[in-house]
């Protein structure tokens, strides 16, 4: 049986309470932490504060001292990082006697960096399966839940790169069904659970703007009836068909499975 540590009452440090500013042109990496969380009475003045810079498997820490002595602004040096490229930050507040975490900002990014299009979150991230995905013999599945963006999960047993996901064959055979599952979850299955998920707005925009299919419900119905399900199911079918047309999926030929227009393999 897996061992679980008990929940400890850890608080989330909000981005607005802890901002990291990477100091321009400083090499190696130097950042300015602007903070307001130390004024909160949920922390003891003796609690310790640590700022972490993380890039992949590399993590380096800067000791900011105690909550009681923490200034609104502090400069932190990370000599092991040549610059701030691909680095994110984590802030930890903990009881120095027990080492129990009392506050945490899990992912802080450079507050001055504009989000470039390449940094934007994709509509459908792809991830390799983890044991808890319980893939069994499945090649793929969609991880769906109310609070997190949908994720296309591909079996780590079957795939050793993301390249196949980008292939025309994968797009033709899998993606229409992915779209159907996501829209069905967002606009039908989750509707009785107190409204559409927050992430559904991006998908609504995608279907209406990119695929040009109107008719998406603006809000969850007060009561789920058959006419709602019929209407939304039709909209989903239209969206899936428009998706296939948009990417010209009928033009994809799949070895040993499809025939050419003249009927030959």
């Amino acid at each position: 049986m897996a061992f679980r540590f008990n929940f400890t009452g850890r608080k989330r440090v909000l981005e607005a309470e802890a901002k990291v500013h990477v100091i321009k042109d400083a090499k190696p990496l130097k950042v300015r932490l602007e903070q307001s969380f130390s004024g909160k009475n949920i922390y003891s003045p003796d609690d310790h504060v640590m700022l972490e810079a993380i890039r992949r498997t590399k993590l380096r820490r800067f000791d900011l001292g105690t909550v009681g002595n923490l200034q609104p602004e502090t400069i932190a040096d990370f000599p092991d990082f040549p610059d701030g490229k691909e680095v994110y930050y984590r802030l930890r507040i903990f009881d120095p006697a027990t080492h129990v975490l009392k506050g945490l900002a899990k992912t802080l990014k450079d507050a001055d960096k504009e989000q470039k299009p390449t940094d934007m979150e994709p509509l459908l991230p792809v991830a390799l399966s983890q044991p808890e995905d319980n893939m069994g013999s499945l090649f793929w599945k969609v991880r769906l839940d109310q609070n997190n963006n949908p994720v296309l999960v591909i079996s780590s047993k079957k795939f050793n790169s993301y390249e196949p996901v980008k292939s025309a064959e994968f797009k033709a055979l899998v993606q229409p069904e992915v779209l159907r599952q996501v829209l069905t979850y967002a606009f039908i299955l989750s509707a009785p659970a107190g409204g559409f998920p927050e992430w559904s707005a991006k998908w609504r925009t995608y279907v209406s703007v990119n695929l040009g299919v109107r008719g998406c419900p603006e809000s969850a119905p007060d009561s789920m009836d058959e006419s709602y399900i019929t209407e939304v199911s039709k909209w989903i079918e239209d969206a899936v068909r428009a998706f296939a047309d948009h990417f010209n999926l009928s033009g994809v030929s799949i070895k040993n499975l499809t025939t050419t227009e003249d009927g030959n393999e």
């Binding site: 061992f3 498997t57 820490r61």
Partner: protein, 252 residues
């Protein structure tokens, strides 16, 4: 006899050629030695590397640790930092020593998946498994955390990516916490054995194994702040009873 050669990097076409070479080796069960050798210097498929170090292409590695020992003085910290995302360079190195990364079973070459040869720096799950880059970067990062017992992670043949290393590196969080790595060494290292690991340490679905320790890493990091190697004793004392089998009588 040594054959000192300046390290080069594959370009996009070169990487595709490597992919095709792997397909051929798998299909023909043939090393395609001449083709592989020619790839390394093909001007259309490879580029020069600025201030490239020289490597001995005839060097045979007796183990993964031997390979690390050979490359460490050649690839200094600056080189490692500069080329951390250099897919072409690390792929070139894997091909340069490719015969040593092929396991032969009943006269059939077992060619590992492409990510072990073709370095994908964008995806940690794949990059950690690269024969050269994965090994060298993990060794460098682990070396910051633990001094004794590093051989536990890199024991065996150069092509091996054992269950213990797989479990520890599956999630990045584990590898970032020196106290966690030190605890793993205390729990599972057996210096006097050939595999350098206690029997059963990496078994699936058994209590107290490295896989269970790895599963705990994320949750541990969200609950406690025990980070430095010298604080690993605190983590040691927090481990639940199912780890007693591997703890033995040791005290830390």
């Amino acid at each position: 006899m040594s054959e000192m050669t300046k390290v080069r990097r594959f370009n996009k076409a070169g990487i595709e050629a490597v992919r095709q070479l792997l397909v051929k080796i798998r299909a023909d069960n043939d090393l395609h030695t001449e083709e592989a050798k020619a790839l390394l210097t093909d001007k259309l498929l490879t580029d020069e590397v600025k201030n490239a170090p020289e490597v001995d292409l005839e060097r045979t590695f007796t183990s993964k640790m031997d390979m690390i020992g050979y490359f460490t003085p050649i690839f200094d910290d600056g080189f490692m930092d500069r080329h951390q995302k250099d897919a072409g360079l690390w792929t070139w190195l894997a091909v340069a020593y490719y015969k040593q990364f092929l396991k032969s079973k009943n006269s059939i070459y077992q060619v590992a998946t492409d990510c072990c040869w073709i370095f994908d720096p964008e995806e940690y799950r794949f990059s950690r498994r690269h024969f050269v880059a994965g090994t060298m970067y993990l060794h460098r990062d682990f070396g910051h955390a633990v001094s004794d017992g590093l051989e536990m992670f890199f024991a065996g043949e150069p092509y091996l990516f054992g269950g213990l290393l797989d479990a520890i590196t599956y999630k990045e969080e584990f590898t970032r916490i020196p106290a966690m790595l030190q605890t793993a060494v205390w729990l599972y290292y057996k210096p006097d054995s050939a595999k350098k690991v206690k029997p059963g340490a990496a078994t699936q679905d058994k209590p107290g194994t490295v896989r269970e320790l790895a599963r705990m890493a994320d949750q541990f990091a969200m609950t406690y702040d025990i980070f430095e190697t010298e604080d690993a004793g605190k983590l040691w004392n927090l481990l639940p009873a199912q780890f007693d089998k591997f703890k033995g009588d040791a005290k830390h």
